[in-house]
Symmetry: C2
C-alpha cells in the first residue's frame, strides 16, 4: 500500500492519463504551448506515479503562483548560449523546470553520443521537479547520467542557526538489465521537507537532528520545526553549497548570495540546473554493463538483513514498485489536494479529472 | 594546533620537503620511476600538509604491501583505451592511484579547454589517496571539477548487517578569489574510518549510528566497532553504490560483486576512478565567477552561528589553514608512524627524514 493511502487521506483515486490531461489543460489555459504543457504534465504526474507526491500535481498551484508573480515565463525564448562538441548552455528565460531540464538532458545525451560525455548547464529556470525523471531519460537511452539543481536558501548551513542553503538535490541513474535501471534521487537535507509537513499535520514528534525552530534552536516539536538540517552536518550543507557553485555560479545566475544579503529581488523564485550524460558504449559493452548491474543487485540483496530490517532495497526500487502499483490501481490523491485542484479547474474552466473508482 | 599534535601523539615534526624526498626515495628503491615516485610523494605529503593524516605517509606501508602482493604495478603500461573530443578512458594497469588520477585529471582539463567539459575514466588503479588533490589541480587551472573513486566493500549497505559497499568518496572543487578555492572531499560514510581507529586507540565510546560490530549489531563500544555505517542510511549507501556503478561498471572492472560473491580474486585490492572538469571560461567570465565565490562565502560566514557553535567553515577551509600552519611549522607525525617509516627506511636503505625541531 502506498504512503499516502496508508495515511488514510486519499479522497480520490484517478488514472495517470486523466491527471496528465487535466494538468496539460490547466497549463494550456494558463497560456503555455501545447507541447510545453504536455511536458510539464508528464514530469509532474510521473512523480505522482512513483510516490513522490511532494513533486507531483500537488505542485500545480505553486506553478500557477509562479506564473502570477511573473517568475515562471509561459512563453520563454530559450536560447543556446554556448555550444561545443560536448556541452551546451541552455539559457532558459524562466521556462518551467520540466521544459528546461528535459531539453537539457536531451542535449546532453545527443552530445554524449559522439563525445562520450555530454554536459548541459541550465540558466534561469524554475522549480525543476523530480530530477530522477531526467536521469532516467538518459538511462533509457543506454547512458549513465547525473542531474543537479540549485535553488534558494531554506536549509541550515552547518554551524549556523538560519536558512543558508537549499536542500539542492542530486540524481544519478544507470541502465539496468532484468531488474531495470537504478536511479538515486536524493536531497542534501537530512529529511525531505514533505516529512516535516506530514509530521506537523499528524502532530507526531520528529527525531532530534531533523530541524531547527524559528529561533534556530534544535527541536523535536513538529509544530515548531521550520528549518531542515543538512544530511550529516557539514557533508550535506557542503554538497548543497558545491551544487550552487557548480551550477548557479558557472551560469552566472547566483541564487544564494542575493537572498542572504536581502537584495530586492533576492527572494524571487529561480533555479539553475546541470545535466550530464555518459555514453556507456564509448567505454565498454552496454550489454555486459547491464548484466553487471543485475549481478551487483543480486549480490547486495543476498546480504544478511539488519536486525529488525525489512528488505534490502536499491535506489529507486520503491518508486518503481509504486509506479507499477499506481499504473494498475490508479493514483490516490489526498482530499486537500483534490480540493485545491477543484479550485484550479474552476479558475481555468477546465474539466475536473474523473475519479477512477 | 593540529589534530594530531593535540592528541599528544606527535613524536617528530618534519618538513614537507624532507617527507617528500623520503617518500620518493622509498618508491624509487622499490622500483618505481623517478617521475612516478615524485607524484606519489607529492599526493601523499599534500594530505599530511592539509591534516588528512589518514591519507598521507601513513599509507606508505600499505602501498608497499600492495606492491609485495602484486596488486600495485611499479612499472605500469598505462594505455588510453578510448579517446573522443571530450573524454578518455585511462587503462591504468594497476598503477598507483596518484599516478593514474593526476594523469586522468590532467586529461580531463585538456579536453575541457575546447569541449567545455572533459571526462576521464580510470580503470584498474590502486588506492586513489585524497581526491581533493585532483579536483584542486583543475581549480588551479580555472576549472570546476568532480572526482569519484570506487573501492572494495567495508561499509554496511543500508538495511544489511555486513560490509556491502565502500565509503567511496566524492570531491568537488571550484576556483575562488581572495578567499581561495572551495574544495569538498567527503566519504559516503557517516564518519571517516580514521575516527573509528582513533576512538579505539583512546578507548572513547563512539556515538550511536557510527558503526556495527562483527555480528552486525549497532555498537557504541570503540573496541567492538568494525563496520562503519553509511551517511544518512540509504542516502550514503545509495551514493556509494552509484559511484561503483558509474565508475567501475562503466570501465568494465567491477569491484563489489566479486568481493561479495567470495570470488577467488574478489578481495584483491583495486580501485577505479572518475575525473570531470568543467571549463568556466566556456560558460561565463572566470573573474566574475571568482568574485561571486567570495561574495557567497562572505554571506554564509555572516550568518548567525548555531548555539555553542564556533566559526562557520567552508568545505576545505580547515585543510587550507592546516596547510599554512604545517608549511610554516612542519608536519607532526605520531610515534607509531615514525617507527613504521623507520622500518621502511631500513628495508630500502633510504636515509630517514630529519626531525625539523
Amino acid at each position: 500500500m502506498s504512503e499516502s493511502a496508508r495515511a488514510g487521506a486519499a479522497a480520490t483515486t484517478t488514472t495517470a492519463d486523466a491527471l496528465r490531461r487535466f494538468t496539460r489543460d490547466v497549463f494550456v489555459r494558463a497560456g503555455m504551448s501545447d507541447v510545453d504543457a504536455a511536458t510539464v504534465a508528464d514530469v509532474l504526474v510521473w512523480a505522482d506515479l512513483r510516490g513522490v507526491d511532494s513533486h507531483g500535481v500537488s505542485r500545480i498551484s505553486m506553478y500557477l503562483r509562479l506564473i502570477d508573480d511573473g517568475d515562471l515565463n509561459l512563453r520563454p525564448a530559450i536560447k543556446i548560449g554556448t555550444e561545443t562538441a560536448a556541452s551546451v548552455l541552455v539559457d532558459a528565460d524562466r521556462a518551467a523546470g520540466p521544459i528546461a531540464m528535459t531539453m537539457a538532458m536531451g542535449a546532453a545525451v545527443r552530445k554524449a553520443r559522439d563525445a562520450g560525455v555530454g554536459l548541459a548547464l541550465v540558466r534561469a529556470t524554475t522549480h525543476t521537479a523530480a530530477l530522477g525523471y531526467y536521469t532516467l531519460m538518459a538511462a533509457q537511452e543506454g547512458m549513465a547520467a547525473i542531474a543537479l539543481a540549485a535553488s534558494g536558501p531554506f536549509m541550515a548551513y552547518h554551524g549556523t542557526r538560519v536558512a543558508g542553503v537549499s536542500t539542492n538535490p542530486i540524481s544519478i541513474a544507470v541502465p539496468g538489465g532484468e531488474r531495470g535501471p537504478v536511479v538515486l534521487d536524493m536531497s542534501t537535507g537530512v529529511v525531505a521537507r514533505g516529512k516535516l509537513v506530514q509530521a506537523r499535520k499528524i502532530g507526531q514528534p520528529i527525531p532530534p537532528g531533523w530541524a531547527l525552530d524559528r529561533n534556530g534552536n534544535p527541536t523535536t516539536d513538529p509544530q515548531e520545526a521550520l528549518i531542515p538540517l543538512p544530511l550529516g552536518g557539514p557533508k550535506g550543507s557542503g554538497l548543497s553549497l558545491m551544487i550552487e557553485l557548480i551550477t548557479s555560479l558557472v551560469v552566472s545566475n547566483p541564487i544564494i548570495a542575493g537572498a542572504l544579503e536581502g537584495a530586492a529581488d533576492g527572494n524571487r523564485h529561480r533555479q539553475n540546473g546541470l545535466a550530464l550524460a555518459i555514453n556507456l558504449r564509448r567505454f565498454g559493452e552496454p550489454e555486459a554493463f547491464r548484466a553487471e548491474v543485475d549481478r551487483l543487485i543480486t549480490a547486495l540483496k543476498a546480504l544478511p538483513h539488519a536486525a529488525g530490517g525489512g528488505e534490502v532495497l536499491m535506489p529507486g526500487e520503491r518508486g518503481s514498485r509504486t509506479l507499477a502499483e499506481r499504473t494498475r490501481d490508479g493514483i490516490p490523491l489526498p482530499r486537500a489536494i483534490v480540493e485545491e485542484l477543484r479550485g484550479v479547474a474552476a479558475r481555468f474552466s477546465v474539466t475536473m479529472f474523473p475519479s477512477a473508482l
